[in-house]
């Protein structure tokens, strides 16, 4: 009996150790000894060499810290964090395709880096989960009507690139209420999305005016719209671009007429953002976006970019026609601008395609070339 007991105890111990080895090994992943994804900037790509054929894309291999550019090129696809419920900026059409202003800028980055504007995988994100998705590496770039603020630069560890849309926060009410100023909205129910600057601005502005309000905080835009149209909240607040989009959509679908209060209660510069700590990738995205503005300034658009000839050396360099002589060292192909313009278009085309049908105009707004009185000013490609 004693032998039985000791045998089984030994067996149990060894079996337990073996099982633990299995489990800990599973947790640790099948890393080869040369696997180095440590964040010393090395461009080690965990390309699934020994993960047992993990072709199920439920785990995505990405590299943190340095090397996003190399990872995107190796993957052959850009992963873009986007919105899927905001008409005009990021939404899904009947055929299931993503379209919108921000979506087009995802395509711009893809065209610049990979040469193919359609080599993008869109990851729809809510306002609350967008920063974590970027921080954890789930997406390479976040283009989701995100406002550039100091806290996001710092605490959220984002790096913001050139603003693509200068906006402000506004409030929308049904037209038949007759409200025109903030003072009319004392103690009102205001529908707001959590995790946005709008939530914080509202609080600050109302407090400074000595007014009270009740935030009704709903995460999904679809439900928010239901509450607003059913009258449960009297006011809807978000960026004016978003309000214009919703106003257009509501009225277009036969809803009540809407009125956007003339008061703009904050500055909301919207633009693409990437993770901190990867300046190479940040520059690439930045100059891809700037190329659209620069092309507009040069008068180049998708209709005339192919076969564009000029004597201006600056434009020639911009279009990559002097590839041998000029290379600014950004890591982009010489003809990145041509790819962008021919496949997606310049800034004006992107704006007019997506945003103008909703009723937002370029004239008189900051979203215009600096030569036309706006704020869009691309540094020289020199």
């Amino acid at each position: 009996m004693r032998s039985l007991r000791s045998t089984s105890r030994r067996r149990a111990t060894v079996g337990a150790i073996a099982a633990l080895a299995l489990i800990v090994g599973a947790c640790g992943g099948d890393d080869d000894t040369t696997d180095s994804t440590d964040t010393d900037g090395s461009v080690a790509i965990d390309g699934g060499g020994d993960q047992p054929d993990d072709t199920t894309a439920d785990t995505v291999e990405v590299v943190q810290g340095g090397g996003t550019l190399a990872a995107v090129k190796a993957r052959g696809e850009l992963v873009c964090g986007a919105n899927d419920t905001l008409p005009g900026f990021g939404s899904v059409n009947e055929a299931g395709e993503f379209e919108g202003f921000d979506i087009d800028f995802c395509k711009v980055v893809a065209a610049a880096v990979l040469g193919d504007a359609n080599a993008v995988r869109y990851v729809p994100l809510t306002a609350q989960t967008r920063f974590t998705a970027l921080q954890s590496g789930e997406v390479d770039v976040l283009i989701r009507n995100t406002t550039w603020t100091a806290t996001r630069d710092g605490q959220e560890s984002m790096t913001f690139l050139h603003t693509t849309f200068f906006d402000g926060q506004g409030l929308m009410v049904p037209a038949d209420t007759g409200y025109t100023t903030l003072e009319d909205l004392d103690e009102a129910n205001i529908c707001v999305t959590p995790g946005t600057t709008t939530e914080l601005n509202l609080s600050a502005v109302f407090q400074s005016r000595g007014l009270a309000y009740n935030p009704v905080v709903i995460e999904t835009d679809a439900e928010l719209r239901q509450l607003y149209e059913a009258g449960q909240c009297e006011v809807w607040t978000t960026d004016i671009s978003g309000l214009t989009a919703w106003k257009f959509t509501i009225e277009d679908e036969g809803g009540a007429e809407q009125f956007i209060l003339p008061e703009v209660i904050s500055k909301e510069p919207l633009g693409p953002g990437v993770r901190d700590g990867d300046s190479e990738w940040a520059q690439v995205v930045d100059w891809a976006v700037l190329a659209t503005i620069q092309a507009w300034e040069y008068g180049i658009d998708s209709t005339n970019v192919d076969g564009y000839t000029t004597d201006d050396v600056g434009i020639q360099n911009f279009l990559g026609q002097n590839a041998g002589d000029f290379d600014p060292g950004l890591g982009l192909d010489p003809d990145f601008a041509v790819n962008i313009i021919s496949q997606v278009g310049n800034y004006e085309e992107i704006f007019k395609r997506n945003v103008e049908p909703l009723g937002l105009v370029m004239e008189g707004s900051p979203n215009n070339l600096w030569t036309n009185g706006g704020l869009l000013y691309a540094p020289p490609y020199r």
Partner: protein, 519 residues
């Protein structure tokens, strides 16, 4: 004396009274109404007040369902409710999965029936009587749901064909299971388990950890093979395991190879020390595991991106995956909680109380926001994988409590009898306590599965469009804004109710049949 006499006389008299036949009272409608509705003053008042209200509410409800309800959002978007935005080209995976699941369920049912017949033949006891009525009383809700779907909400013949295919496969599987001879039953179980694992691999691809689950499914067959081998061949079997381990460690150095060689060597060691059966089992399993892994790599079926998955299908698969993964962890925790080693007990209690103390949504939020950060730099997980991880860890605590109840229900006499036979504690637990405990907790485990299935509705809050959350997809379409809000909600609730009602009835039936709680 007189008392004894009179008692005897009374008994004699009583013996002459013929026994009253037990007959069901046949009540006329009038008598029935009087007995059941108006049998006391209070009941009369209640009936008079409630009856018109009930009739009115029933009328309004049927009017809502059949006349005034706007059911177009459901009819037009049935796909969204079932599979959300699953890519069209990959729908064959879901169809194959459903058919395979029906097949596995059929084989399993057939095997259970066969085993009952064998046991009945051996012990001479009659089979428990079963009529279609018993099954109907549990399964009518699912049948109703499928009928309503097919009759009212589908627009093509596809779903009808799918249902017929599943029924056919299930019946064929049942016949196969019933037809197997007694000696071949373990192979039948392996077949059922393999079909089940294959049904999941159709979705996830044959990469990743699929080989592990396939190997687990092979356990009954390996056991049967080893039992049939002569003694020397068993030694060879154990040796095969060591060889397989060696090969693995050469091909794939790393933790996996290390574990394989350790297990293989342990198998050989066990066999050489005299326990050839266990050694051969382990050895053949290691060898089978290696073979399955290579086969999986050879087949190389891709999984697909889980990002657009959703609907009722997702709810069912996530609940099943979570309970399957949570079971072993829960059993370990329950055993740990009962352990005599204080350190192990404290750790198990800490885990269980922590995961039972906070709501599931907080764990889902934690998984969404920072689960990826816990793992090595460089891995990101899809939303659904994170959700499954959170739900698994959460349910393991509840499963542990359920299993603990079962372990407590096994009477101490069993343990003492095992000790009297000289069995060591591990064997007592493994061979005597656990089978009885697990059998006793099957109803409670089904109850846990029911709550898990209902809890998958929480995935809406973290942005996964499962069955309840598919409503958001429907109502964000232009045509259905604000239309049919209550109708879609009623449809979703009906779907949940159909499945959980069946499961709860089945668990009640199992509880009665297993005689749990009766002493």
């Amino acid at each position: 004396m007189s008392e004894i006499d009179s008692t005897a006389a009374v008994n004699e008299l009583l013996a002459q009274v013929p026994p009253e036949p037990r007959v069901r009272e046949q009540l006329s409608p009038g008598q029935w109404v009087k007995k059941n509705l108006f049998n006391s003053k209070l009941n009369t008042v209640i009936t008079i007040v409630l009856a018109p209200i009930t009739i009115y509410l029933g009328y309004r409800f049927f009017r809502f369902v059949f006349v005034t309800g706007r059911w177009e959002p459901v009819r037009q978007n049935l796909e969204l409710f079932m599979v959300a935005r699953y890519p069209r080209g990959e729908r064959w995976r879901i169809l194959t999965q459903l058919v395979l699941v029906a097949g596995a369920a059929g084989i399993g049912t057939g095997l259970v029936g066969k085993r009952q017949r064998i046991v009945a033949a051996q012990t001479g006891q009659p089979l428990p009587p079963r009529s279609w009525r018993t099954y109907a009383s549990s399964y009518w809700s699912i049948v109703l749901y499928v009928v309503v779907l097919l009759a009212a909400f589908t627009r093509t013949f596809g779903p009808l064909l799918l249902t017929l295919g599943c029924i056919t496969t299930g019946v064929v599987g049942y016949l196969i299971g019933r037809a197997l001879p007694g000696a071949a039953l373990p192979y039948g179980w392996t077949l059922a388990a393999l079909t089940g694992v294959a049904s999941f691999q159709v979705l996830s691809g044959t990469g990743g950890w699929a080989w592990f689950f396939t190997t687990v499914a092979l356990v009954p067959a390996v056991g049967a093979v080893v039992a049939a081998l002569p003694a020397n061949a068993r030694l060879v079997g154990a040796g095969l395991g060591t060889a397989a381990g060696l090969v693995t460690v050469i091909l794939k150095p790393g933790w996996l190879g290390g574990a394989a060689i350790v297990l293989g060597a342990f198998a050989l060691f066990t066999a050489l020390r005299g326990n050839r059966v266990d050694g051969a089992r382990l050895g053949l399993l290691v060898a089978a595991g290696g073979g399955v892994y290579l086969l999986g790599r050879a087949i190389g079926l891709d999984g697909i991106d889980w990002a657009n998955w959703g609907g009722l299908h997702l709810s069912l698969v996530v609940a099943s995956a979570a309970i399957v993964l949570a079971l072993p962890l829960g059993i370990l925790l329950a055993l740990g909680r009962r352990s005599k080693l204080p350190a192990v007990r404290v750790m198990s209690v800490a885990y269980i109380e922590f995961f039972r103390g906070a709501p599931l949504i907080s764990f889902l939020l934690a998984a969404t926001f920072f689960l990826g950060f816990f793992l090595g730099a460089g891995t990101t997980l899809s939303q659904i994988t994170r959700a499954i991880a959170a739900i698994t860890l959460f349910s393991a605590a509840y499963v542990a409590e359920v299993v603990r109840g079962g372990l407590n229900a096994v009477s101490k006499g069993q343990v003492e009898a095992g000790q009297a036979l000289g069995l060591p504690a591990s064997k007592v637990t493994r061979l005597i306590v656990m089978p009885q405990a697990l059998r006793a907790v099957i109803p409670a485990m089904v109850g846990q599965f029911i709550s898990l299935f209902k809890d998958t509705s929480l995935l809406t809050i973290i942005g996964v469009a499962e069955y309840l959350g598919a409503r958001d997809l429907v109502h964000s379409q232009n045509a259905f804004r604000g239309i049919g809000i209550a109708e879609t909600l009623v449809f979703v609730a009906f779907g949940y109710w159909a499945f959980t009602f069946t499961m709860s009835r089945e668990s009640q039936r199992l509880e009665r049949r297993l005689g749990v709680g009766q002493r």
